[in-house]
């Protein structure tokens, strides 16, 4: 070991070339190319989903409506693309990114390959927060059958997001306490299922006693949808997601150290408790925002981080944070397209589409976990 570092010219040259050969040749370029490719796919899917719905609009018209002059396309097409479908598409991309990052944070903090907002009951916690706000807050008399959008508009988006994030954080805190007691990852997942049912039951009780006009809106929301967000609410949603993603980005180094285990991370000088709290707060904001604006959407949170690791061939959070944002956006846009059932006026619940993509990934991960143990 030449730790002293004082060497002659030959040794210095040797050191430099060794440092340069650090990564296998081309690895960095390949990872960069894959990230760029993911971004391009997300963009293409975005344009497709702007055009591909009950009224089909060809991609050139979509692009013209977005970036062309006001008279480039028919005014109604312009309105549909810009005011109805664009917020929906952006919502889908944001939901995917948010769930991907939330899943990544939770998988690292819990050291559990199947941890996600959905599997550990965090989404249910957020639902409870939303239910408490939406079902119990006072409502003016004018609305005889308010949609969820109207309810949320009435109550303030921020209130709903804060309620959802607090609900999510509450469940996360409980789950982390439980996970510290039982080291077995499978038991933690089972506890997550139980926690989900428990919190879900509380929501059901709330719904049962709530005003009948509101419950229908609440149940519809529970199926998951990208259509609830409009230009008025999008900034709040986008801001919440941005806060969560930036939080995750700020924690990449402690997250990487946590891959070795908490005691090892601490021995490396990482402030484990603070980092863990920060990561869970970020995950809560992300999961809470998604639940508040699009409903409890399952499976994306599990699948996205695994696909990002596999595509980029790395466990490094410096790459996995942008990677999960990109993969999440791609996957959620694909789910949105699937849910739209092009050519018909029907909308599948986004949850169903997400499960179609996400469940197979979860199954593969489960089978691998069995091999590992």
């Amino acid at each position: 070991m030449s730790r002293a570092g004082a060497g002659d010219v030959g040794e210095a040259h040797d050191d430099a070339s060794r440092a340069r050969r650090f990564d296998a040749p081309g690895t960095r370029v390949r990872r960069g190319a894959r990230l760029a490719l993911l971004a391009i796919i997300a963009l293409v899917l975005g344009v497709l989903s702007l055009g591909w719905s009950s009224v089909a609009i060809p991609p050139p018209d979509v692009v013209a409506a977005l970036v062309g002059p006001a008279d480039a396309v028919d005014a109604s097409v312009r309105t549909i693309v810009r005011d109805i479908r664009l917020p929906r598409t952006l919502t889908a991309a944001l939901v995917g990114a948010a769930l991907g990052i939330a899943g990544l944070l939770m998988q690292t903090v819990f050291r559990n390959a199947l941890a996600s907002p959905f599997t550990l009951g965090v989404s249910s916690g957020a639902s409870l927060g939303v239910a408490l706000v939406v079902l119990t807050a006072p409502l003016p008399d004018y609305a005889d059958a308010p949609s969820f959008v109207m309810l949320v508009d009435q109550l303030g988006h921020l209130g709903t997001v804060v309620g959802a994030a607090l609900g999510a954080f509450g469940v996360l805190a409980v789950m982390l306490t439980l996970a510290a007691r039982v080291r077995d990852v499978t038991i933690v997942l089972l506890l997550g299922v139980v926690m989900s049912s428990l919190v879900g039951a509380l929501v059901t009780v709330l719904v049962f006693f709530a005003d009948a006009r509101r419950t229908r809106a609440f149940v519809e929301w529970g199926l998951g949808s990208f259509t609830q967000v409009h230009w008025g609410t999008l900034p709040t949603f986008a801001l919440a997601v941005l806060v969560g993603v930036v939080g995750a980005g700020a924690l990449v180094k402690p997250l990487n150290a946590l891959l070795l285990g908490e005691a090892h991370a601490e021995s490396l000088g990482v402030r484990v408790r603070a980092s863990r709290l920060g990561a869970l707060a970020a995950a809560s904001v992300l999961a809470g925002a998604v639940v508040a604006f699009a409903g409890p959407i399952g499976f994306l949170g599990i699948a996205v981080p695994h696909l990002a690791r596999g595509l980029l061939r790395t466990a490094d959070h410096r790459l996995l944070v942008p990677g999960s944002v990109a993969v999440g956006a791609v996957l959620a846009l694909a789910c949105g397209l699937l849910a739209e059932l092009p050519g018909s006026s029907l909308n599948l619940p986004v949850n169903a589409a997400a499960a179609l993509f996400g469940a197979p990934v979860a199954i593969v991960v489960l089978l691998r976990m069995r091999h590992a143990s």
Partner: protein, 346 residues
């Protein structure tokens, strides 16, 4: 602890009236002990004696109940975590849990206390990682996924990770626990080389008494606690601790006894009576030795001069050069292997 070397050089790590434990009651008498640079010290003790607690307290992961740990000339608890991590490396039993983490990535995490907020590596960091991999002979493993490494390979990579921190002190908690014997020996010899050649102070908690007695420069031995008394730790050269009987006192329990001649454990002997190897001086010493081991295993006390021995054995006494046995007054029998011999005398 009054050797001249300890008096001249400040130990790399020193416990000063250190009381350790998880609750309020210390599990050991207060410790005053130094870990000298350039030495491999093995920490021995029965399961649950407090080896892990001591390692974690010395490593700054657990607060001491009383007293102080000194890292060089600085109190450990006063050091910023990153500064501590540049001077002291820990290898614990936790395993990495995700895939797509290469051995090189894992070793690069040893640079965490040296890098900026994002953990980006500079050339100096990459050199340190390459050097650490080379020092443990794991350069060829660099691109392997950590999940595909064997237990021994993974532990070597973990040692490289700790080395990449460029510490002066290395504390390891049972890194050899799941390794087969050759891998275990190789890892311990690697640690001894790092201590002797790189001047590291190495503290290694191990189960393997036999190995510790053969390679450690010094032992820290946590004794068994008896009723109402707090256990204490003895420090000394392995041979001194054997001769003083400290090892035997720390480990004797449940039928197994420490044999100070062998430096290892053996089952209680003499249950079946005495056995004698007749004319042992004329036979191959190696054959005599293992014949004796076989008789001990079968429960006999082997004595050279016992005239009234229940079993007498001649090595090479049979016409074909195998064993001849006389049990009591019965007729002589031949055994073609030691397995057959044991079967005949039980």
């Amino acid at each position: 602890m009054s050797q001249p070397d300890a008096a001249v050089d400040l130990p790399a790590l020193r416990a000063d009236g250190l009381a350790i434990g998880h609750g309020r009651r210390p599990i050991l008498e207060p410790l005053d002990v130094g870990l000298p640079a350039g030495q491999l010290v093995c920490l021995l003790g029965a399961n649950g004696a407090g080896k892990s607690t001591l390692i974690r307290t010395l490593g700054g992961l657990l607060p001491p109940l009383a007293g102080q740990v000194w890292l060089g000339d600085a109190p450990l608890r006063r050091l910023a975590p990153a500064v501590r991590a540049r001077r002291l490396g820990l290898v614990l039993t936790e395993r990495p849990s995700v895939g797509h983490l290469t051995a090189r990535d894992l070793v690069a995490l040893g640079r965490v206390p040296h890098t900026d907020w994002s953990g980006a590596l500079r050339d100096a960091d990459r050199r340190a990682v390459a050097d650490a991999l080379e020092a443990v002979g794991a350069t060829a493993l660099a691109d392997r996924d950590v999940l595909t490494l064997s237990d021994g390979e993974r532990q070597r990579v973990q040692v490289a990770r700790a080395l990449a921190q460029t510490p002066r002190v290395l504390l390891l908690d049972e890194p050899t626990a799941f390794l087969d014997l050759p891998t275990r020996v190789a890892l311990v010899l690697l640690l001894r080389r790092l201590a002797h050649e790189e001047g590291l102070a190495v503290l290694l908690a191990v189960h393997d008494l036999d190995l510790a007695l053969r390679v450690a420069d010094r032992l820290w031995l946590i004794g068994a606690s008896s009723d109402g008394e707090t256990a204490s730790m003895r420090v000394g050269a392995p041979e001194d601790l054997v001769l003083s009987g400290a090892i035997a006192r720390a480990f004797d329990r449940g039928g197994m006894a420490f044999d100070p001649y062998e430096g290892s454990f053996r089952p209680p002997r003499g249950v079946r009576g005495t056995a004698r190897i007749v004319d042992a001086a004329e036979a191959d010493p190696l054959v005599v030795r293992w014949t004796s081991r076989a008789l001990v295993r079968a429960g006999y006390l082997v004595a050279a001069e016992a005239d009234d021995a229940a079993v007498r054995v001649w090595c090479g006494g049979a016409p074909d050069g195998s064993w001849r046995i006389a049990v009591g007054d019965e007729a002589m029998r031949d055994a073609e292997s030691l397995g057959a011999l044991v079967a005949a005398v039980i």
